[in-house]
């Protein structure tokens, strides 16, 4: 369970990105965070992956207050989260296979496990025939699928997707969304941040709508309400 408790994040000199947010995300949930650019979606994610610390309030994972993690513990926390970004963020000098293997290597996985799991993940995202391609040899949709496979490699409890379809065409967009829903069915929390009306209206899951750093709506079967 993830819990944001009265969280405020302010950037100097006078920008308040999140304003006294209270939000609970339960295990196995699929939550969309909707909002325009600058509404505070990315800040919410940065606080969750401990890229930033809240100015006020706390962020909990179960009973663990993330603010109390010291620098040594941060890598261990990040290995429990899978991250997907709009710009994919693959390692350009590594092949698709190596990008996925890297996520397992950082956690000290055994070679045998890596050799067993990576092909399975590549099959899951339907890219087994492109395992030796470098990112620049893959299309946008393919790169994002590699990124998803990488995010799943260390079997995370939470998958965070920050505008994952922002750079993709319609067909690829829905492939990625279906993949995320499949991952959620395997009991992983999925947090999807997006400003895409069609996606939010199409998946019929919980929607948390942010505006100017505040939650203006939290609906279990939400629709996109912003114009």
């Amino acid at each position: 369970m993830i819990h944001f408790k009265k969280v405020t994040k302010a950037y100097p000199p006078n920008c308040i990105a999140l304003d006294n947010i209270d939000l609970t995300i339960n295990d196995e949930e699929f939550v969309s965070i909707a909002g325009r650019s600058g509404a505070g979606k990315s800040t919410l994610i940065k606080l969750l992956i401990r890229e930033e610390l809240p100015t006020k309030g706390q962020v909990f994972w179960g009973d663990q207050d993330l603010s109390n993690l010291n620098n040594r513990d941060i890598p261990f926390w990040r290995r429990q989260i899978g991250m997907i970004f709009q710009d994919f963020r693959l390692l350009p000098s590594k092949t698709a296979y190596e990008n996925i293997a890297f996520a397992m290597e950082v956690g000290g996985c055994a070679k045998a496990d890596i050799e067993k799991d990576v092909p399975q993940l590549l099959k899951l995202v339907n890219l087994i025939d492109k395992s030796d391609n470098f990112p620049h040899q893959l299309s946008g949709g393919e790169q994002q699928r590699v990124a998803i496979a990488r995010a799943l490699a260390h079997r995370p409890k939470v998958l965070v997707a920050d505008e994952p379809t922002g750079n993709l065409d319609l067909i690829n967009t829905w492939e990625i969304i279906k993949l995320l829903m499949k991952i959620n069915e395997l009991k992983t929390i999925v947090i999807l941040s997006t400003h895409d009306r069609d996606i939010i209206n199409g998946i019929d899951r919980r929607v948390v709508t942010l505006e100017s750093g505040k939650i203006i709506k939290d609906d279990p079967n939400g629709k996109y309400i912003l114009f």
Binding site: K46, I49, E51, N71, R72, I74, P75, F76, R78, R79, M83, F85, R89, L90, L91, P92, S93, F102, A103, E105, V106, G107, G108, A110, K111, R150, H154
Partner: protein, 307 residues
Amino acid sequence: MFTTFTRIIKSGCVNFWRNKWLSSSAVSMMSLAILGITSLLLVNVLINSLTASLEDKIDISVYFTSDTSEDKILDTRTDLIKLSEVRSAEYISTYEALERFKEKHKDNTVLMQSLKELDNNPLEASLNIKAQQASQYESIVSFFEQDKYKKIVDKINYLENKAVIARLTSITSSIRQIGLVILLILAGLAVLVTFNTIRLTIYSARKEIKVMKLVGASNWFAKGPFVVEGALYGIIAALISLFVLYPFLWYFSPKITAYLPGTDLFYFFQANIIVLFLIQILVGVSLGTISSLVAIRRYLDESNGEI
């Protein structure tokens, strides 16, 4: 632990190979730096042998009165060489002095003739003294100013040579100082250039480092491969500069010897090749790893930067 270590090494080597262009430019910059530092060391050897040969030309002669016995002079010599300033003290007997005189002036018939007309040897026995350093002649001369020597010493040619010795001393010491300053400045430049090249290679990988951190890599797992790459640059650059220097010295050393007799750089290089290579490796590897470590630090800082 061991798995992580081998993964870091492997990843460093793979990165080195995949970024061939970047690696080769970094290696060539570093080769130049190491080559520069080694050449400066060799120039320093040249300067030292040059100043040593200049200093070797400086000596003083102490002439003893004709009635001084050989034993007394040799006793004086024994006392003299106990001084730490004295490098050598050669005894030249009256007979030897005469032989040298004859040899030197054998073409001068007038001198030879007049020498023959003399009944006895007019030349005095002497001690030919060399000091460890040119600045020490003053104190050697003061040794002979003790009362017990005053009676037997006829003259010391130091006073005649004093001006020349003083000038040579100041020339050799300023050559040494200037050489050292130039060496330090150029070595500093070489280090800066290498550091900046490596900083550029790491700058180009800054996003990669951020991604590694986001995927959950510890600091060492993220920076390890770059440090390995830096060390690899150093090792290869050391090898290159050795292979460049060897034929260069083989060709140019005899030419340098022709100008500065008594210096043989190629011989020096061959005799010290292992030490020189180890110095080059040491310089290269430490330059590479330290530059990488310093350059990567800002990209690993948790509080610094957006994702």
